[in-house]
């Protein structure tokens, strides 16, 4: 079975949402800028509640923002 890890497209969708800053997204979700940065860089996996709030703030379905990715072949 291939190794999987939680990937995300928060950075991409922030850019598409008129280059929303990490601080602005954090304010909408109720977390700090550092937590958004940690999520984007894969250093923190958010709770389901925060993940849903991030997706809502970016105007996208959850699965567009967070997804499984194989460590060797990228997004699945």
């Amino acid at each position: 079975m291939a190794e999987r890890r939680l990937g995300n497209a928060v950075r991409l969708h922030r850019f598409l949402a008129r280059e929303m800053t990490q601080a602005q997204l954090g304010e909408r979700v109720g977390v700090t800028r550092q937590t958004i940065a940690a999520i984007e860089s894969g250093r923190y996996s958010p709770t389901l509640e925060a993940a849903l709030l991030i997706a809502e703030a970016l105007g996208k379905p959850l699965e567009d923002i967070f997804f499984w990715e194989n460590t060797d072949s990228g997004k699945t």
């Binding site: 939680l6 954090g26 109720g30 977390v31 700090t32 800028r33 550092q34 937590t35 940690a38 860089s41 894969g42 250093r43 923190y44 996996s45 958010p46 709770t47 509640e49 925060a50």
Partner: protein, 137 residues
């Protein structure tokens, strides 16, 4: 750098310095009068409290009105506390259940203080490491 990580670094440095000096200078056996032993520990505890109070006030002023702790901060703190709990339990078993059969007096006191200090060092060390390396609940 998140505020809780800054605070953990200050705690870590303070514990390493104050209790490092304390355990380097105060022997682990029953020597010296009770008052000199108490004075040594009292000075260490007061020095630690003063450093933490000053650092806390400085960080509070610097980050006034800024974002507070969020879910990531709480998750990291809970993880660090659960790791430190096991360290503390080992220390309590050693100082409270095993050492009383072979040691007494100040040696037991120092062992208990060491257990608490080491557990706190581990807790703050784990917090710093989890902020740097990441945490995936």
């Amino acid at each position: 750098m998140p505020i809780p990580e800054q605070f953990a670094r200050v705690w870590l440095a303070t514990l390493l310095i104050t209790y490092g000096i304390y355990f380097a200078l105060v022997p682990g056996v029953d020597t010296g009068s009770m008052w000199s032993q108490l004075l040594s520990f009292g000075m260490t505890a007061v020095a630690q409290a003063v450093i933490i109070a000053v650092a806390s006030a400085w960080m509070e002023l610097r980050h006034r009105g800024g974002p507070r702790r969020d879910e990531r901060d709480r998750a990291i703190e809970q993880r660090a506390t659960s790791v430190a709990y096991h360290v503390l339990m080992v220390g309590v078993i050693l100082s409270g259940c095993i050492m009383p059969f072979s040691h007494n007096g100040w040696a037991l006191f120092h062992a208990a203080v060491a257990a608490i200090a080491i557990a706190e060092i581990v807790r703050n060390g784990v917090i710093v490491v989890l902020y740097r390396r990441g945490w995936h609940g």
